[in-house]
Symmetry: D2
Subunit: 340 residues, 4 copies
């Protein structure tokens, strides 16, 4: 297996370690050859050693400069994504970048231009596309057997809200949380969003209001293909991670339920009791992360299109900006109003 | 509507009133013209009046003698069924008879002979065949699209056991309760039972043992068509009426779940909670009783085969006798050992 | 049973016959004593006779003037509802009125004033409140055990669109179809709607556009209690009547699935196949109609509050007007902008 | 991590490679230090190298003699299991042994005696105990919250039958396939089996008859605690791996459904269509294998009881022998009739 794709991992936080561990254990056609993190410490080095990563560094530049690195996984803090994309592209490395590329449209476009110029591949980390359940819904729609899509619906609720310290820097619910759903509706409908209208509320914790944010939001959408849609988000759902999608089409509807922790159930005089939905994204999208990594590696090895490209990285950011603007201005906002 | 089928109702207990009320309200092609019950009293007469039954009597002979009666519903006590069948047949009336015809095989055969001689129709009250769920299972098997049946399974549990005074005279779990399931497996498989083997236990109430009865039983079955099967019964299931059937075939399996009281569900940190199964036979088989009555009336009006005939009334009794014998003797019992 | 509530039925079309038949068969504490319909003919008279209604007339005035009528069921054409309410109230009759009372707010208010003045009871025919599934959802929310409601969601799709001749006079999707859902969200949330925002599309049949109508619409809502919500409607859903509600609350979510035609399922190499949802409102809300009728009769007999009062009749009309205005003007519309 | 448990893997066939790969990837407290297989070849060596196993050999004796091996995984052919247990025990190694230990009771007892004498740990590979769904059922029963168990039911159907060449040497359906279910009923009920009664048939392929085997079987069971039970097996189920368990207890029932390939579903005019059950044991019990391995390693590292001990390995073999005898002799067979 001399021709494994050699990966440089940028960032060894939670999501970086997740990707690194997955690649070493489950992606036989790739291997992590170096991990860079400015906060590299003994614990991180021990983790790297335990899964067979041969080199570590505090300096990302070493990764870009390393001729033995074929591709990078950008798992560092969001503000570094665009610059690291540019540097990696200039160094001729293929790029997997966690979402979002940036919160600033110009910066995203600059990064995409660098990728375009370098003719490297860029895949953005919208992992939910690789969930087998959502994928089954999308594949049914894309097959055309249900005819044209009419209504696209996505429900997304986190089990528990983040700490207020995170809310303060998160960029708000639309950029931080609903961005996944903006990607999902594009994926499900096979169409771009042309207008959004938002209603939001602070219901779970008054703290959100202090950061000019909401914790609960519903956004309606118009798509370029004529379909309409709706996304609802809430920061807290004590029963677990609520992740459901639905597409109502001409000849039928396709949807998914939540995956439950197990399929056992108890019947008593009080009713029938089943397990809760899986707790959060690590539980629900565990296998999807692996599928995402394999898809990226395969696209490079086979020189095919990546399944989530730069435009797929850009558009959800634009929709998020539009949704936030709609909430603020109390009116529908067209995507044509947003830089892009 | 001069040509409604005119029905004489024999027995105005719970099941008699159920049939009478249903016919008056839901069977537009029939009408109850008289009800006979030796215990006829003011309350029963008020019930009859309230649903427009024009005549009541304490004497069943009046019904047999009445030239305005086209058909009878025999809903009296079990020991009278066979004699009433004979009298009704001799009077040229068509007959709907609640199960079982009798617990004595010879007596059943005598009744069937009278029906045969009089060329009247006889339908036996195995109401579960008319449940839309079980019927969907059977129709799938009968369609042949799943190929040959391999395994037939029936689960049947009552929400709560009967009073011991009833157990004393019930004839035991096989004749009183599992008889419905013996009919069901014949219905589902489209085949006769040729051998049974029983295991039973007294688990819910030691009182059953005093009457030489069990409260929990599992009976395995061999069918004439080569399939095998199993029925399990329990006298108590606190979560409601557990009524599930399943047929595993060459190309797939078809089964039904319990119908629940409603389709709402609550998701909390404790799990997902749904409603219980419907409580008992009146709730679960309510619509099936009406379908059964209509099927009988239609068979007469159209002069077609009744859907549950005399042999269908006889065979479950024979299987019940075999199952009881198997339990007692601790060995498989062939149906050929039982009079028939 | 001398003290049955005596009902005069106004209108013997589909919904009038439904109520009439139900009352005669399933509401033992009431009886229909007369039915009035300007199009009374032999067939209608035969129907009335078949279920024991002793009198028929072409003139509704006879019903209002009849001292033996305690209450009326107004099942005539929509444009007559308000006037009939006024006449019935002035005659001292209690009133059950099919929805909507009127499409004109002033006219509704006039009718409600007449009811108020006469101190009779008025119940409006929002039958879905009596569906056991939706009721279980609402009762869970109302019990408070899940805490405050955050998000209220209603999906409502008809199996097939109405003929264009009906669309022409229907008043549009919001008044004709979504009005049920506007009532439902008030019922579920226990709160009034204060603002709506609509997105709509013509997707199933271009004919809707000719009548300035849409066939698919999503309306977001803000409630007085701070919760937010969304309703989606589509005129066609080939899989049957799609009727689902959901309330996400502080401590959990409660929702219902569609009731299916049966609970059998087939497992083959192609997947697991279940029955479709029940076809349309007669199938899905059959039992709810009876519960609605009983609730009305009980409220009169026990002199208690009716479960769906005049305000409950008025508000959904106001919300429908607001939703239509929002669609037309492309902006959120506050209920305070609508006469009320 | 100097104190990882050092494992010698005996047998590098399908199940051996499964355990080896799992341990290397998912059991951070253990490592495979050597793999022995008499058919060791280049391909197997490449597999071992790819997951970081440092040594390979054709001679199992090298593993027993190796002082750096703390425990062995016996994944070799069934006839070698007992002897390898004895050798490993004599060498002071802890032992994980795939089921069955042997088909001969005396040989099993000899192996268990060796384990007892050496005071090493022995865990037998009944992996289904570690399936989260079955475990949830068992844990509910074991918690006692549903009261005493009354009826234990297990359904187990393979997606497709094995080749006839395998049937020839498999030992028959009871030893080869139903043995898992015999273990499962002991696990679920928390009780020993005292009597079995079998009915079987050749339905899927006449070839089974040539080997004096059946392809479809139902076995009823009596337990020491008074409960009764039933297992049904079929060699073919085109819809996938059918694995359901159910325990009906005093206060309710607990059961599991099949895990489906995904939780998406399509609603059309033809019905509601879901995914099939997961295909076979690798798909369904994938996570259970890892849980099983971790449980074994933990029991050694913490010096606690293994969750599936020698008696748990012995009893299912005895029950299988009894079930086969019951089929042959056409009578219930007591476990006391079987050597043990």
């Amino acid at each position: 297996m001399a021709n494994k794709l050699r990966i440089g991992l940028l960032g060894a936080g939670r999501i970086g370690q997740l990707h690194g561990t997955n690649i070493q254990n489950f992606v036989p056609t790739a291997e992590v050859v170096v991990v860079a993190d400015p906060f590299m410490n003994e614990k991180t080095e021990a983790w790297a050693a335990s899964i067979g990563i041969p080199a570590t560094t505090k300096d990302p530049e070493e990764v870009f400069a390393n001729p033995d690195v074929d591709a990078v996984f950008i798992c560092s803090s969001t503000d570094t994504h665009a610059d690291f994309i540019i540097k990696a592209a200039q160094a001729g490395k293929h790029i997997f970048c966690e979402k979002p590329i940036h919160t600033d449209i110009s910066k995203i476009k600059e990064a995409l231009a660098a990728v375009e110029a370098a003719k490297v591949k860029l895949q953005v980390g919208f992992v939910r596309r690789f969930d087998k359940n959502h994928k089954a819904v999308r594949d049914t729609v894309a097959s055309g057997k249900l005819g044209a899509p009419y209504v696209v619906k996505v429900t997304s609720r986190d089990p528990a809200g983040p700490p207020m310290s995170y809310v303060a820097v998160s960029g708000g619910i639309f950029t931080d949380m609903m961005i996944h759903d903006f990607d999902m509706v594009r994926y499900l409908s096979g169409s771009d969003v042309v207008e959004v209208s938002t209603v939001g509320a602070v219901l779970t914790d008054p703290g959100y209001a202090e950061y000019d944010d909401v914790d609960t939001a519903i956004v309606t959408l118009k798509f370029a293909n004529g379909a309409i849609g709706v996304i609802d988000n809430c920061r807290t759902a004590p029963y677990g991670y609520d992740q459901r999608v639905e597409v109502h089409c001409e000849k039928g509807a396709v949807q998914d339920n939540n995956a439950l922790e197990n399929v056992a159930f108890i019947s008593t005089a009080d009713g029938v009791e089943s397990a809760k939905p899986t707790y959060f994204f690590l539980e629900r999208y565990n296998d999807a992360f692996v599928a995402e990594e394999i898809a990226f590696v395969d696209a490079i090895n086979n020189d095919t299109e990546v399944p989530v490209n730069g435009i797929d990285g850009l558009e959800p950011v634009r929709i998020a900006i539009a949704a936030k603007k709609s909430l603020k201005e109390g009116r529908p906002v067209k995507l044509s109003e947003i830089e892009g």
